[in-house]
């Protein structure tokens, strides 16, 4: 009991200290009231410089989501793309788009957001010489092959020929192919506008990025802390409901969780696996565990003819049916994964193309049928499957062993499946790129934008960028092409679902589970939610 009182005192002290800094450091903030209070949140050191087109992981994504607003924004709850800075995006042929930017928007340094801000930013992101890791986002825009030659040869242009500024607030986009859902991809941070300061004094901008979102960066100590404060001049409707956010870098999410327990931190967005058992006790209902736009699958090496002969699809389906997803997600992941029943993600919503149970009995645990199917398909190639995974992160060993165990039990052969660990993720990626896989391997997909297209085309289209298994199917390609040409969104989604059924019938990859995002918070906070990218929706959090 005594211990508990002490902890409470510490929490109060921390709260007072935080409130004090909020009042002192808020600057233009008039102070007082709940909307002035600052919350602290756990953070990891972003892997890349904080440029919008160079940030491809959650930690950098958190910051971008606070300091940038693009043409579209994904609704944190439904995942639907809604107009943000876009007045309208018109097209008559799904290939040429006219974008009208709302007037009255500014960057936090006072500069107006115009059509030029977007075009400059996109040209920068696409250009090979800038080493932007999200450059491929601009791959559909005409002229991309000139500014970003695929073979790495010298680029022959600095700007995308498909982008033209036609007025202060209008520009046109020409794509290389019909892509009806293109406007819906524009909510991704890579498409954010950039101020002139980004280009004129790049080094200074990187030190303290300036954007057009509800928060502005007050101070940034690389590798340890970033203080963001509410920007009072923000013109949008989604103004910050708190005074600001202090992001603190933690090396170990266990420490962050301990800090949360001690009242030293307000929000952790990655509850450590070891604490999942205690989380109900520690936090009660101040804990969130919802599906994120991440799906884990087992991909197959279709360049290996053992896995690409007639009957192989039966073996693959059989393997899928031999995996007890329910049990594995419950015991190993403590329900922080949801068994997959299709190849997309629940964050898309029914409207966006997610279809619960599309996989059918192929994703259900039916050991007897599984055994029969594998025998019909000619048995396991070489009598054994080896599931490759990288052993350095993400506790993959546990679930791979569990999957193998499940397969072995179903087939009644304790040598039918073994795990094949690869030391580091980088080496694992190398082996995949060099087509050295001889059996199924772990494949995770984190969506770029919440569209069904993003869960299918990059992964299963012939020679697509992330088609690691090199699966190729004419029917699938044809349906995807048709879907991209379809101007009616709901029809396009229907066509994508048809394409997904082709994936199902061939069992091109075994869907395992959807990954969840988790968050825990102190009793000072309310209205905490995670967006489809598992990033907390900071501007909606209320303090006090």
């Amino acid at each position: 009991m005594r211990g508990a009182t002490h902890a409470k005192w510490a929490a109060c002290a921390a709260a007072v200290a935080l409130a004090a800094t909020a009042c002192g450091g808020g600057g233009s903030d008039s102070g007082g009231g709940d909307s002035g209070a600052v919350l602290s949140s756990s953070w990891g050191d972003p892997q890349n410089p904080l440029e919008p087109a160079n940030t491809n992981e959650v930690q950098g994504g958190k910051v971008l989501d606070m300091i940038f607003r693009g043409l579209k924004r994904y609704n944190p709850k439904t995942g639907a793309a809604e107009d943000m800075l876009a007045e309208k995006i018109d097209t008559s042929d799904s290939q040429n788009f006219t974008v009208t930017v709302k007037s009255g928007w500014k960057f936090s340094n006072g500069e107006a957001v115009t059509a030029q801000s977007f075009v400059d930013a996109w040209n920068y992101g696409a250009s090979l010489k800038n080493n932007q890791k999200n450059a491929y986002f601009f791959g559909y825009i005409e002229g991309y092959d000139k500014v970003h030659p695929e073979d790495g040869s010298k680029q022959t242009a600095d700007t995308l020929s498909g982008l033209k500024v036609t007025g202060t607030n209008t520009f046109t986009v020409k794509l290389t192919q019909k892509f009806s859902t293109f406007p819906d991809t524009l909510g991704y941070p890579a498409f954010a506008p950039l101020p002139k300061a980004f280009f004129s004094d790049h080094a200074a901008w990187i030190k303290k990025p300036v954007g057009n979102g509800p928060y502005a960066i007050e101070s940034y100590t690389k590798g340890s802390k970033m203080s963001l404060r509410k920007w009072d001049g923000y013109p949008g409707d989604d103004k910050a409901e708190n005074g600001g956010v202090d992001l603190k870098v933690y090396t170990d999410n266990n420490t962050a969780y301990t800090d949360l327990m001690a009242g030293n931190l307000d929000l952790v967005d990655d509850v450590p696996a070891a604490q999942l058992k205690n989380v109900k006790n520690d936090l009660g209902d101040r804990y969130l565990n919802t599906p994120a736009g991440i799906i884990q699958t087992l991909a197959f090496p279709f360049y290996d003819k053992n896995w690409n002969k007639s009957g192989s699809e039966k073996v693959r389906k059989g393997l899928s049916m031999a995996i007890n997803r329910e049990q594995i997600t419950n015991t190993i992941f403590q329900k922080t994964r949801t068994p997959a029943t299709d190849w997309t993600s629940p964050v898309l919503g029914e409207k966006g193309g997610f279809q619960d149970g599309l996989c059918g009995d192929g994703c259900e645990y039916k050991p007897d049928e599984a055994k029969k199917l594998i025998q019909e398909g000619g048995g396991l190639p070489g009598g054994q499957v080896k599931i490759s995974y990288n052993a350095d992160t993400g506790s993959h060993k546990e679930w791979v062993d569990a999957v193998c165990n499940s397969i072995n039990n179903a087939l009644g052969n304790d040598k039918a499946c073994v795990g094949n660990p690869v030391g580091t993720f980088a080496d694992f990626r190398n082996q995949i790129t060099q087509k050295k896989m001889s059996g199924p391997f772990r494949a995770g997909w984190q969506m770029d934008y919440p569209l069904i297209q993003n869960f299918l085309q990059p992964l299963y289209y012939t020679n697509a960028s992330s088609n690691d298994g090199k699966w190729s199917n004419k029917d699938f390609d044809k349906l995807v092409d048709q879907a991209n040409q379809e101007t009616d969104t709901s029809k396009a989604i229907g066509l994508f679902q048809d394409a997904e059924k082709v994936v199902r019938d061939n069992m091109a990859a075994i869907p395992l589970w959807y990954q969840n995002g988790s968050a825990g918070w102190s009793d000072r906070l309310s209205n905490v939610a995670l967006n489809p990218f598992s990033v907390p929706v900071y501007n909606e959090i209320k303090v006090g």
Binding site: N48, D151, T221, T258, F425, S466
Partner: protein, 307 residues
């Protein structure tokens, strides 16, 4: 003395080159670091090639090593993947770890040597036995257990300290982490001092000093302790390097952004520049600390002379 120091400094050169080469090769063996930069996806080949060129990874390893060493001698330790200069990372990480090491070493010297002297003089008494037992416990419990336990008790249950250290990492915040870091070495220092004192207590010079009628305090501090400190100084000297490089576990538990944190992140991201840079500096610290220890011998024992 001067010639001895010069000779020792010259000896450092091959050790330095050998150590950096080994680290460089080890990091390179881990595979292509660029492949891990794009999440679960494949980097688009053009960008990957461009990045490789930028970080010099497209050249053969020996050439990479030579360019790297050439740059190191001009004070350029390269750039980390997040665009920061490695020297910049060092300038933020080393002061923190040095403060942590100072706290740890102070604990070792003050508590370790005091306990050692007390137990050494009272061999076989209850104080001696209980301290011995205590050191045994401390040595056998791994650092991460002590660290997590203290963090949970002092930080969460009793609320005496904050469980994590802030960005500033001031001395007062580093007391508990420093104690955790020092705990095992502290126990060793206690035991070393105790044995050494107990052994020298019966030496002729101590008897002479007592016979001369010197005060007890003077005998213990000026004669007995000074002569017993040689093995302890050796231990503490080499421990400086070990503490600085080996703080990874402690730094992770208390979220201290020092050398251990940068090394850990560098290894995880296969960032050759960061890992080699930091380890190079650690190697230098080791070498210099060893040299200082050897020079200290002469101060403690005038019979030792370096020609």
């Amino acid at each position: 003395m001067g010639r001895y120091v010069v000779r020792r400094l010259l000896q450092m050169i091959p050790v330095f080159i050998g150590a950096t080469l080994l680290i460089f090769l080890m990091v390179n063996v881990m595979g292509d670091p660029i492949a891990g930069l794009c999440g679960d996806k494949q980097c688009d080949p053009a960008t990957a090639a461009q990045l490789k060129k930028e970080f010099g990874l497209d050249k053969p390893v020996w050439q990479q090593y030579l360019t790297y060493m050439g740059n190191v001698f001009t004070g350029d330790f390269g750039t980390a993947f997040n665009g920061q200069k490695v020297t910049e990372l060092m300038s933020t990480a080393f002061p923190v770890t040095i403060r942590l090491t100072i706290v740890a070493i102070l604990f070792e010297i003050v508590i370790g040597i005091t306990l050692g002297v007390v137990t050494g003089l009272r061999r076989g008494r209850p104080v001696d036995t209980s301290v011995l037992l205590l050191t045994l416990v401390v040595i056998s419990v791994p650092t991460f257990v002590t660290g997590l336990l203290l963090q949970l008790l002092l930080g969460v249950e009793w609320g005496w300290i904050k469980p994590s250290v802030s960005t500033d990492a001031t001395f007062s915040e580093l007391i508990v982490p420093g104690l955790v870091l020092a705990s095992v070495s502290l126990a060793y220092v206690t035991r070393l001092t105790r044995t050494s004192i107990a052994e020298n207590r019966r030496a002729d010079y101590v008897r002479t000093a007592i016979a001369k009628g010197l005060p007890r305090q003077r005998v213990i501090i000026r004669h007995l302790l000074r002569n017993s400190l040689i093995p302890v100084v050796t231990f503490i000297g080499t421990d400086i390097g070990a503490l600085m490089g080996g703080a990874i576990v402690t730094e992770r538990i208390f979220n201290i952004h020092g050398v251990g944190y940068q090394l850990y992140q560098g290894i995880l991201r296969q960032n050759t520049q960061t890992v080699v840079g930091f380890v190079t500096v650690l190697v230098l610290v080791f070498l210099v600390a060893n040299l200082l220890v050897d020079l200290l011998y002469a101060v403690l024992d005038p019979r030792i002379r370096y020609a």
